[in-house]
Each structure stands twice: as structure tokens, then as C-alpha cells.
Assembly symmetry: C2
Homo-oligomer: 193 residues x 2
DNA sequence: CTAGGGTGTTACCGGTCTGTAACTTTCAGA
DNA sequence: TCTGAAAGTTACAGACCGGTAACACCCTAG
């Protein structure tokens, strides 16, 4: 019941939303399809009428989560129209908000850790989505007038990825607490070149 | 058989070594105790005579892996006696070697991702071990004459942690490819202050 | 009112999981 | 050679897993 998503929308949407939430909280291998359907207020047969398999559901969840996350780029543009540097700082602030105390990190990264089979169908989807995210950040850095845009984007990516996983192992008081300071001074030093 | 560890040592040691290897390769939830004992050339009863439970085995594996990893600090001291700055550069080089193509990342971080129950007994062990590693890197930075030793150590930690998890999601050609360059220029900029 | 697709229900399959019981075998040390 | 502890063997319990079959129901479009 703690994971209940009781809105009366269509079963497929409820399953997708509930699965995203439960995969995020408890991990992919930590949640069974029975638990998902029960929390979504439906049943296993309905799930398998909309999704080929649990793997298929996993993939759709990752796509949905990534699609939701990608909307922040529009928010940045709306908040700071044309000001790409301000948008980059907004990215840092938004990223730091992902490091709240009980964070479970990035769903795609977590999935990559959990799904160890090298030929798992979700792995190429994860790679695709992560590469798309990377390109967006590179473009933002470049448009903000940064000389070595790729290097700054990649460094910021690794810092955030590291912070999100560090949160889960050492907690919020660990190295991830300094993320904003690291990111900001990094941007400053790249701008100075 | 691919995971076989056939040396004729004592069963407990074989189980521990085999479990470390299999947990690392296939993940904790991806390996059952039956598979471990079979690969270790023993049986389940013997495992449960030496370890209270699978959780206990997990903890012992993490401790053993961390103990093995902590020996690199002695290697650094042996290779560059007294030269802490050279040891810091050696750390960067050693860290980059962890980013080889098929890397599965840090066992502790991966375990933290997989074991989502907040009260899982392994979680406090992971935190302890990670904090110990952090303190060693901070001490190295400080002894190398870096002003803001904690900040540099934490930044390097996040970069490495991020690189190791990024390898698993986007692969070796992703942002992690630039790790050495990032780390070195970071050290240089901290030394310049 | 009726037809039919979407949904719910129940039961089941074969497999895997952690963990245990009871018993036999091996083997080193006295 | 005898003894006793460590290790191996077999079988099992009880739970959970992903996935399917067969059937009853509801509810809306015609």
C-alpha cells in the first residue's frame, strides 16, 4: 500500500507509473510483477496484455523516466531564455536537488548495475538514453561559450554520477555534499581559459 | 565452470574467494548460494557451517575485497617512499586501470545499489569501508601539501565513482575515458592555489 | 439491447531461491 | 589403528519468481 498509485487512469499507465516508482525505490530485481500489479490496483494478466515481459516493462520504465527527465531542458530555456550560461548554472542547481537525503540515484545507472548480463535488452536502451543526455549537456556547455565543452560536460557528468552513487553508499554527508562547490568552481575555471 | 576456483585450499577460503568473484561479475542478487558452492567445488551445507547466512557471506566478501584493495596504499609508499605527491599521481594511474573495458565497477557501490533495504546489515559495513577509503585519500592529499585536501579528495572520489558507474551504463568510450585528464588537471589547479 | 474488447479472477506450471535435517564419507592426529 | 571433527550427500521445506490458461465480468459503441 505504501507504493499504491490509486488514480483511476488506464491500467497500462498505472502499471507504468507504479513500476517506475517501485523499481526506483526497491531496485529492479527487488520487485516482482505481482507486487507491481497489486500496488497499481490491477492484476498480472493485464500487465502481460500490455507488456511482453518484465524486461519489456523495465525498458518502457526507463524510457518514460528519461522522457520525464528530459523535460528539464525546456524548463531551463523557459527560465533563462537564450542565456545558456544561466541555464548551465540552473543545471547545477537542479542536479544538486537530486542529492537529497534519501536519494536512490539514477534509475538508468542503477539498472546498469543490476542487469549484469551483457546482452540484456535494457542495456542498449540505457546506453542510448545516457548518450542523448550527454549530448544535451555538451551542447549546453558549447552554447554557453565554454572552450572545451565536451570535457566540461563529461567532468560534470562524472561528478553528478559519482555523487548520486556515493549518496547510496556513504550517505548525504559524504563527498557528494560538496557537489555544488565542485561544479561551480569547475565551470569558473573552464570559463577563465 | 567459468567461475570455477579449483584450488585445494580450505573450503571456507574457496567459498569466500569464489563468492567475491561471482558477486562482482553477476551481482549479489544475480548469484545464488548453490551456484557459489558448486563453483567453489563444495556444497551448501559447508557454506552454512562457515557463514550464518547469505547476508553474512556478502559482508565478509565486502570486507575481504576492501582489505585487498587497501593494500595498494602500501604499494604506493613502497614505490615512492615519502613522496606523497608522486603517490597521489600513482593513485590516479591506478584508478584509471580500474576503468578497463569490461569493468563492473566498485563492489561496495554496486552492493549499495542492489541492497535497497535501508536496514540491510551490509549497508553500515559499506559505509564504514567507504569512509575509511575516503580518509586515506584525504590524508594522502594533505600530506602531499594540498591546501584544500578534503575538497580535492572528495572531488577525485566522485570523479572515480562516477567513472566506474558510467562505464557500466555508457561504456568505456563515454565520459570516463577522460578520467585521467580530469584528475590530473584538477590536482594541478589545487596545487596552484 | 447487444456485441465485443478490455479487464478481473483463480488456478496453475516449472523453476529458483535461502536455509535445514539427517546421514555418510573422508582424513588427519593421537 | 582408532577417533573425532570437518566435509560431502541427499532430500526436503517453504517461499517467491515470471509467465500462461480458462473463464467471468463490465462497460461502452453501435
Amino acid at each position: 500500500m505504501t507504493d499504491g498509485v490509486a488514480e483511476r487512469s488506464r491500467p497500462r499507465d498505472r502499471i507504468l507509473e507504479t513500476a517506475q516508482d517501485m523499481f526506483h525505490k526497491h531496485g529492479i530485481k527487488g520487485v516482482g510483477v505481482d507486487a507491481i500489479t497489486e500496488a497499481a490496483g490491477t492484476n498480472k494478466m493485464t500487465l502481460y496484455r500490455h507488456f511482453e515481459s518484465k524486461d519489456d516493462l523495465i525498458i518502457e520504465c526507463l524510457r518514460a523516466t528519461a522522457a520525464k527527465a528530459s523535460r528539464i531542458w525546456d524548463e531551463f530555456e523557459a527560465e533563462h531564455p537564450g542565456d545558456k550560461l544561466a541555464q548551465l548554472h540552473a543545471w547545477v542547481r537542479k542536479a544538486s536537488e537530486l542529492l537529497s537525503a534519501d536519494s536512490r540515484g539514477c534509475d538508468m545507472a542503477n539498472a546498469a548495475v543490476e542487469l549484469t548480463e551483457t546482452d540484456h535488452p535494457a542495456r542498449r536502451v540505457i546506453k542510448e538514453l545516457k548518450e542523448a543526455q550527454r549530448e544535451k549537456l555538451v551542447a549546453l556547455c558549447r552554447d554557453a561559450g565554454i572552450g572545451q565543452a565536451e570535457l566540461l560536460a563529461d567532468t560534470l557528468s562524472l561528478l553528478l554520477e559519482g555523487a548520486r552513487v556515493s549518496m547510496q553508499s556513504v550517505g548525504a554527508e559524504g563527498p557528494s555534499a560538496q557537489f555544488v562547490r565542485m561544479a561551480e568552481s569547475l565551470i569558473a575555471s573552464f570559463r577563465a581559459r
